[in-house]
């Protein structure tokens, strides 16, 4: 290849319209698949940490199975009696919530510092935008990549739980999808927030401690929401993790919930994910066009 063909010579372009046509042709693929190219880049970076990622994807569920199934589960069984919690063993009760929590954890790490990195610290998003990719495609690509990460982590989590007999229902595999949806419902509003931050003044640490940690504890995850005093139960209603855990229980062990409530869970999660995503695109578009 010659780095540069003679301008207007070899390619037959001899007026500016020919340049414009050439540009139109060149932009067809990036306009259509730009988000995938962004995701491809993220996957390439992620592959560099493959060992760590696999170890934590398998290690985390195993640790939780032992902690909740054998450790805490024995205590709970002793106090809850033969009926268990919600009619099942404690491990079966917590398993869908744990899968959803792991997706939320991925969201809380992938949609915070890496976003600041891409906009500011190592501004790869600016580089992508200088290439044909639009702000919308960059955000779409990031969501796509993180969604894939949640999906694969949830599959591994589900398989570990399955191996320990914690997912009795034949449609239990649907927890993979409900968990991913939960992660996105929690994650895309966080993405929009992170994309709007010009500086890190410790906000991400606050998000971790004041948002993520309480949500994972008080969203009807490791104990039913009704255990909380009535004046704290609104936390669950706002928390995508409660909606996601409850939805997971319905598919994982056939927990009996009224149809309208199931619909509320689904709608709430989908609306959060979509609105957050759209908002993130708007914030990013404004930020990159300066």
């Amino acid at each position: 290849m010659t780095l540069r063909q003679a301008q207007g010579g070899a390619s037959g372009a001899n007026d500016v319209d020919a340049f414009a046509d050439e540009a139109r042709r060149a932009a067809v693929a990036p306009r259509r698949f730009g988000a995938w190219y962004v995701a491809e880049h993220q996957i390439r970076v992620w592959r560099r940490y493959l060992g760590v990622n696999i170890a934590s994807a398998i290690g985390t569920p195993v640790i939780y199975v032992f902690a909740f199934g054998i450790g805490l589960g024995v205590l709970v069984a002793a106090s809850a009696g033969p009926g268990g919690i919600d009619g099942v063993d404690y491990l079966v009760f917590v398993a869908p919530a744990l899968i959803a929590t792991s997706a939320v954890t991925i969201a809380s790490s992938e949609f915070t510092y890496p976003i600041m990195l891409g906009f500011k610290w190592n501004p790869t998003y600016i580089g992508m935008n200088a290439a044909p990719l639009a702000a919308r495609q960059i955000m779409d690509g990031v969501v796509l990549f993180v969604g894939l990460r949640m999906l694969t982590a949830s599959i591994v989590y589900y398989l570990v739980m399955l191996a320990f007999g914690a997912v009795p229902s034949p449609i239990g595999w649907l927890t993979i999808l409900t968990a991913t949806l939960t992660g996105l419902a929690f994650g895309t509003p966080l993405l929009a927030y992170s994309a709007s931050l010009k500086e890190d003044r410790g906000q991400f640490a606050v998000v971790q401690r004041v948002l993520v940690l309480p949500l994972t504890l008080f969203s009807g995850t490791i104990f039913p929401l009704t255990q909380l005093p009535w004046f704290l139960q609104w936390i669950g209603w706002l928390s995508p993790l409660w909606h996601g855990s409850e939805l997971g229980r319905v598919v994982a062990y056939g927990a009996e919930r009224p149809a309208w409530l199931i619909a509320v869970h689904v709608v709430y999660l989908v609306v959060l994910a979509v609105v957050g995503w759209r908002f993130a695109v708007r914030v990013a578009t404004r930020r990159l066009d300066k």
Binding site: R4, N14, A20, E22, Y37, N122, T124, G127, P132
Partner: protein, 341 residues
């Protein structure tokens, strides 16, 4: 480490056609029979609130030309570059890049551009070659094509032996060359370079200039900003001098020097206390005097003759230097300030 190439005889490494005065205001001179205009900016304005970073800039760039925006920091050069690069929406004016309007055809234009930003944005988490591979994919180019171009460009950028290195381990000059290689991965029609050598040491700058000059020889259209006049003189066929968002002057480096300065400049220093007093006694020598805090510039056709006259008036400068006029002098004349403050 790459070797710095020096032509026998040193000095200028290429000659520029002399005596070609700028034709119409800021229009490219026709090359051969057809001139294809790749950038047309008319009355370009970018405002942030009340502040106009770019305040009515007009210029045209022809295919194969190397066009520069010369000006101090904050003159509006980078903002202009971002508008041409179709990543910043203009406030007013009209702009066509490769025959398209950036507001409507951003992705189309950017598909055929190469961009070397002022601040490197290589992915530090990826290796050198991987940076080229991922960037090439943004253009939707097939993986095999990107891989073969990446290898050629690494050779061009003299980074072939560093292809598996971490980006963080590269020197500043190497990072710049990698960024240039990355900007060429889509075989662009037009290459935008924003302050390509700012912050580099002299040797790294010369290596970079050599690479850029090769691109120019191959016919790549270059649009570059700089606040280094030697860079503008080396690389630009034509340039505009920009200050406070406006164009102050335009033309080839030689024509600008001819128009706004004298052939030679005598620099004399009398020490900071005596400078101002000495200036009064120098009146009438040369065409023009410029009194700076630390020295006096005497603009004259013959610098040595001017120096003789200075000493004939009984003045004994601490140091004296006769040099050719540069774009720095043009800028000083136009704005009353130096380029690098």
């Amino acid at each position: 480490m790459a070797q710095l190439e020096l032509r026998p005889g040193g000095g200028r490494r290429f000659s520029r056609p002399k005596g070609a005065a700028p034709a119409a205001p800021c229009r490219p001179v026709g090359i051969g029979s057809t001139t294809v205009t790749v950038i047309t900016a008319t009355g370009l304005v970018k405002r942030y609130g009340d502040f106009a970073a770019v305040d009515g800039i007009s210029f045209e760039v022809a295919a194969g030309e190397s066009f520069g925006l010369l000006g101090p920091n904050g003159a509006g050069k980078s903002t202009t570059m971002r508008m041409v690069g179709a990543v910043s929406t203009r406030t007013e004016g009209s702009l066509r890049v490769l025959g398209l309007d950036p507001n409507e055809h951003g992705p189309e234009i950017r598909s055929r551009l190469g961009v070397v930003p002022q601040q490197d944005n290589l992915d530090n988490e990826l290796r050198v070659r991987e940076n080229l591979l991922t960037y090439g994919r943004y253009f939707g180019l097939p993986r095999r094509l990107v891989a073969s171009r990446a290898d050629e460009l690494l050779a061009f950028a003299q980074l072939a032996d560093r292809k598996d290195a971490k980006v963080d381990d590269l020197s500043g000059g190497m990072k710049r060359r990698l960024t240039i290689a990355r900007a060429l991965i889509n075989d662009p029609r037009l290459l935008l370079l924003d302050e390509p050598t700012t912050g580099l040491d002299p040797q790294a700058r010369h290596i970079l200039w050599d690479r850029l000059f090769r691109l120019k020889e191959q016919g790549t259209t270059l649009l570059l900003t700089t606040h280094y006049m030697d860079e503008a003189e080396q690389l630009c066929d034509r340039l505009v001098v920009v200050d406070r968002g406006k164009i102050m002057a335009e033309g080839s480096p030689a024509a600008l020097i001819r128009q706004y300065s004298t052939r030679e400049v005598l620099e004399v220093r009398f020490g900071s206390e005596q400078n101002a007093g000495a200036a009064d006694k120098l009146a009438g020598i040369g065409d023009r005097l410029e009194v700076l805090p630390d020295r006096i510039l005497v603009y004259a056709h013959d610098g040595e003759a001017a120096l003789v006259e200075v000493t004939a008036r009984g003045l004994q400068p601490l140091t004296s230097l006769v040099r050719r006029s540069s774009l720095e002098d043009v800028f000083l004349r136009l704005t009353g300030r130096s380029l690098i403050e």
